[in-house]
């Protein structure tokens, strides 16, 4: 059985290798899942490179943070699932492999539908829900939600989830070609990052007709964070949940001191019970299965092509064009 194993931190082609592992057997309470699709994230590269804040593994480990599959073996005492049922794999299970044994209890049920799209439910989907429902939970219909990196899978989910609540989104992107694409997904306003926080803030002010923006979502970091801060009204909150630039979040003193803008980190440890989390997954999965939430898929790769997939993931913007999906069983 094939799996992508990481043996140290470093360049992907030096520290990861495709290995042949024994077929997994389920212990009591476990199920064996055959992986249909596994989403690759920027974080997977950072975990392989061992970037600061991404070094907490012991080696060897199997890469891959999320995925979807179906049950092929049942351990003793498993009553919730039967052979053939579709499940989401737990976060961090090591999904870049063909089959794995996991506790049945840790696997939310998954619906029928496009596995490539559904493979993004657990991480990107939950992140979008936490941002829109928790961090921006105070917004009322008609209020504006500002975000950068709006073309990311998470950004696209955020546009739709906010729109369904009657919240208007003001979206910052890097390329003009994305404007129509995101507007077709119900984005209210899409503007192109100018590279100058003052100028971008002017554009945001214009397209939102000077609305008081109380919250902005930042997955870019560096001056992207500063720009969000510049756009916000007094006492506004920047919620940072990613750092596509690979740089530190920057917040200007003028926004902190004069406007009392706050920068908060986003925690995935949302105050939800297991049942509540499963309800969120069920809602997201239904929306994804129906095509209400739709990610842009750049390419799919098999495990044999995984080094090409990792190289593709390292590209950005027009050179990547969406999510990379691994199909471990072809």
């Amino acid at each position: 059985m094939k799996a992508l194993q990481q043996n140290a931190y470093g360049p992907p082609d030096k520290v990861t290798v495709l290995v042949d592992l024994p077929e997994p057997e389920p212990k009591p309470g476990e199920i064996v899942v055959e992986v249909e699709a596994a989403a690759m994230h920027l974080a997977d590269l950072k975990f392989i490179n061992g970037d600061p804040g991404f070094r907490y593994f012991t080696f060897p480990r199997i890469c891959g943070h999320e995925g979807i599959g179906h049950v092929i073996k049942l351990g003793a005492g498993v009553a919730d699932y039967k052979i053939g049922d579709r499940v989401f794999l737990p976060v961090g299970a090591g999904t870049f492999r063909q089959r794995l044994a996991v506790p049945a209890d840790d696997c939310p049920p998954a619906p029928a539908g496009d596995a490539k799209q559904l493979a993004l439910t657990v991480i990107n989907g939950m992140t979008a829900v936490i941002l829109v429902d928790d961090y921006a939970g105070h917004l009322k219909p008609g209020d504006w939600l500002l975000q950068n990196g709006a073309n990311s899978s998470c950004g696209r989910y955020i546009i739709k989830l906010a729109h369904d609540k009657g919240i208007k989104t003001c979206n910052i992107v890097r390329r003009e070609s994305l404007i129509d694409e995101l507007k077709a997904l119900d984005a209210d306003q899409v503007i192109v990052e100018t590279g100058d926080p003052d100028k971008t803030a002017e554009l945001v002010k214009t397209v939102t007709a000077g609305a008081e923006l109380s919250i902005g979502l930042d997955c870019v970091a560096s001056t992207g964070t500063e720009t969000i801060g510049r756009c916000l009204a007094k006492d506004g909150t920047i919620v940072n949940y990613g750092f596509m630039t690979g740089k530190n979040c920057e917040v200007a003193f003028q926004d902190l001191f004069r406007k009392h803008v706050k920068l908060v980190g986003m925690s995935m440890q949302s105050p939800r019970t297991k049942e509540q989390r499963r309800a969120v997954y069920a809602k997201l999965a239904a929306m994804i299965a129906h095509g209400d939430l739709k990610a842009k898929i750049a390419a799919t790769y098999t495990l044999d092509q995984i080094q090409a997939a990792l190289a593709h993931q390292a590209k950005t913007g027009d050179d990547r064009q969406g999510k990379i999906i691994i199909l471990p069983n072809g």
Binding site: C249, V251, A252, R258, K259, H260, K262, L263, V264, M266
Partner: protein
């Protein structure tokens, strides 16, 4: 950019007092005001600089009953204290928390020390750089970087509360419980040298620069 001028003596309007300045502190913010850095650039010119100081009431405007001539007062913020006499309205009177006045990478280093749910409050920008925080310090920890706005903090308190705070601080300062390092005192005519001194940092400056005014 800055020069010493001779202005007519101020006349107190109704409700105002004229303060004869005794001492005025020079802050980094004063220098930033001169160079016009970003948020400090908004002041109409010409202006009399100086954020704070202490002095004695020299003249009373109509209707002022709470002070008499000779009493010691603090002028209100940004009264323009680098002047011998100032007319002012009579209001003159788990690691969960980190305080950052340096900004730049230092903000991130403080964030690194915070427990889950911790807050770093930034209130200064000595490094002259934006506050930078690595994503690895933000994510999973629910930490917050907040700005501290003195005006904001003051707006939350009424005048009586502010006066209580100032009396408590003044008593502590007068009895030496709170003590600032004074790097040098200059007469207002030595302003060039004083601002140059205030522009140095660390051991080169070694404390506050204070203007004194001849009695």
């Amino acid at each position: 950019m800055v020069k010493l001028v001779s202005l007519p003596d101020p006349e107190p309007g109704p409700g105002e007092i004229v303060i004869r300045m005794e001492a005025a502190a020079v802050h980094i913010a004063d220098l930033k005001n001169f160079t016009g850095e970003r948020i400090f650039a908004a002041k109409p010119l010409p202006r009399i600089p100086g954020y704070e100081g202490v002095g004695r009431v020299a003249r009373l405007g109509a209707g002022v009953t709470q002070f008499k001539v000779g009493e010691r007062v603090f002028p209100w913020w940004s009264a323009g204290t680098f002047a011998e006499r100032v007319a002012t309205a009579t209001r003159g009177a788990s690691v969960k928390l980190g305080l950052d006045m340096v900004a730049g990478a230092a903000t991130g280093r403080l964030m690194h020390c915070m427990a889950d749910g911790g807050v770093v409050v930034n209130y200064g920008v000595m490094s002259g750089e934006p506050c930078t925080v690595p994503f690895s310090q933000m994510y999973h920890k629910d930490v917050t970087l907040k700005g501290m706005s003195a005006m904001h903090g003051m707006a939350k308190r009424n005048m009586a509360e502010l006066r209580t705070i100032y009396s408590r601080l003044a008593a502590m300062i007068a009895t030496g419980q709170l003590r600032a390092a004074i790097a040098g005192t200059y007469s207002i005519s030595e302003y060039g040298e004083a601002f140059q001194h205030a522009g140095r940092t660390g051991a080169e400056r070694d404390g506050k620069v204070i203007f004194t005014f001849d009695p």
